[in-house]
Symmetry: D3
Subunit: 161 residues, 6 copies
């Protein structure tokens, strides 16, 4: 059984992320979505619990093949602990590629058996990213076109300050 | 059984291409390397026969899981004919990404079930590309550090004029 | 009356080009589509006459506000001859931007009153470009999703060798 | 009458921004410069009042055709409220393009009638950006070559902490 | 005697930085490594004293030709004060280039006699950067492959909060 | 004595190339400009003799410190033959960087002691490149702002067909 790890902040999860999981499930038997825990390094709009809950809601149609986990270790350590050698990431732009290729190479240095594969975003998702969703939420705009069907944005009270 | 198609010109095949196949075989059960036939559109240094022969030589250690085919159709038609929904490509630079993401999206438009996944090059292969190999060959330089072990560059007489 | 010049090879015209013209007509009163003449510098698949004829067919809904001209001068000279100070170009990728910003700056150097404005492509057109269309035509594939409605690809006999 | 919206932080306004407005006024009848209000999301060196005051000072030669407004809504809502369908942005680098094309596509998704056009920076302004100006100010350097003539940098006491 | 200034945050110094100094010493007689002082603008993991101490440790083999200084002025002012007209920077990615070319042009504007030269990273260092090192340290991972031999990561107690 | 090699096609030499040589002479004692010979791989507008003659004319003010040579070997072999370990190249855009960093890394692989340093173009030269000059020449435009003072474009009869 081949398992892929999909690590990220997912603050919040978008239809772009959803699409990556759907496509990865064509290749892998299982995908573990690993959302980073609350820590001092990166301020997030949603708490890790809220993020994980939203992802679970979004991925319900694939419940048997997808797991959602909060993690707070190095990504390669998370892969090892879950017996997976594969990290998956979506790439929307040249800026994404620039950053992600560095992370992929660093992870391979830290753990040579762990490989990263990239899914190029579908054109209609090129502008769908968590920071745009957060911008829209800031002004109480409508984000329904940017997040998976059935996923409800966690109540404001869940958002960390 | 999951088969991936690795299409390309491979003029000639390099250790960067070899690495992509090795890594893809961790995920897919079989890889079909599809080298483009001789046509008027793209001038190549090596004939398609020479290119295919060199690839077969390079991939001998993986003979059971790798097939080498000359093709002269659209890539998506080749995928359909070989019952594969997966195209794989290596990405070395932002320039590669720019070009390959367009091709991936165009192929998905032409055949929605066919997906493309990218393997980011290992850092030590970042500068390994067929055009650099051809440049070195032009001046009778030593390309042994750029091509797979055991693969011998086809005789000059194989090169098309 | 404000006129914009849309220069290009348009080998052939695509729905991406069509979209740029439509959007430019929201800002400018008239758009002159200037397709480069047949010359030794750039080999094209279609003759300039075939290209111009296809563009006219595509732009018929906007016949009163769009003109199609074959030109064989520097772009800035064409602008001057048509009393326009504005060049418009569509931008799909970082690669496009890299090239087009150089041309825009060179044109401004050659003629300081002439300015260039860029229209970022719509996401769903990011992969629509003339070279992909030509690739598909090479293998007799279906390009109807890539070209404007009503525009028929000129007969093979029009294509230059 | 055609109005364009030029949204931004302008922390502070530079000769690059000034150039975009001047060029936009060749195409549009009016430009509304919309500087983002003080909010928790983005720390600025200058308060929104100081930024707006500096921009008004800089744009005095075009007073009849330029308006300066502090806003605190989504950009597309601001456009609607001011009856404009056009957003303008200057592009200096590939990094700018990468970010701005995402924002342009997201805005078009949120409000399909609103379009964004890009003005490629003049070569001599390629390195002129607000963050460089802030860096120089941090060390009490001379920023007169980076800001519009006649615009005086607001007193330190205006800067937010 | 030709002296080059190598300014940076170096939070912390990596084998990529070390490589730039080694290569610069082939061209210049002396390299002054200038690490930015503690200031409110940029939060660092290590204090400037800890950063300078680590760099001195790393550069011990080149002690006679390398100087390490904490600075808190504009880079061009530092160059003038140390009678150097040359800034050196390593470039790993397109993102680095985008940022560094802006800084180089801004510095040349501020002081026309001061020039910047770039050293393209060696391929095996492409993913070596301070932020990756800090990420690994955050989880108590092993950074020995990312920092110069003999350089010991300063005790946690040196890290600023 | 430190010598740098400046290899290129220089078809033709521009004020951007001239600027690179001037700046390199601040660091190196001598610069050898190596223009590639006539060969089947790359069609040029000017013959190698015409290109070398134009460069000599342009560099006359620096005659004692600059040499102009036509070469037809690998660049690293040329460096060895001229006892230089340094290649210099100008970088104008992200596209340039993408290509040049690959060549620099490949050359370092072929000859580990040979290093490449990049000079970022001055902003006002960002759009100055040989291909733009050739485009203008194609239409008999005025290229005097793009080439060094005193350099006269070689007669049409020198251009290769």
């Amino acid at each position: 059984m081949k398992t892929a790890i999909f690590p990220g902040t997912f603050d919040p999860f978008t239809i772009g992320h959803f699409d990556v999981v759907q496509r990865a499930l064509q290749i892998f038997d299982k995908v573990i979505i690993a959302t980073i825990g609350d820590n001092q390094k990166k301020k997030t709009l949603f708490s890790s619990e809220a993020r994980a809950a939203m992802i679970k809601q979004a991925m319900q149609p694939y419940a048997g093949k997808v797991e959602v986990v909060i993690y707070d270790t190095m990504t390669v350590d998370f892969c090892r602990a879950h017996h997976s050698n594969f990290i998956i990431r979506g790439i929307r732009t040249v800026g994404d590629y620039n950053f992600e290729s560095i992370m992929a190479q660093a992870n391979q240095k830290l753990s040579p058996v762990i490989d990263t594969v990239f899914f190029p975003s579908r054109p209609e998702h090129a502008y769908i990213c968590s920071s745009v969703v957060r911008d829209i939420l800031l002004y109480q705009g409508d984000v329904s076109a940017f997040i998976p069907k059935g996923m409800e944005i966690a109540a404001i009270s869940c958002a960390k300050k």
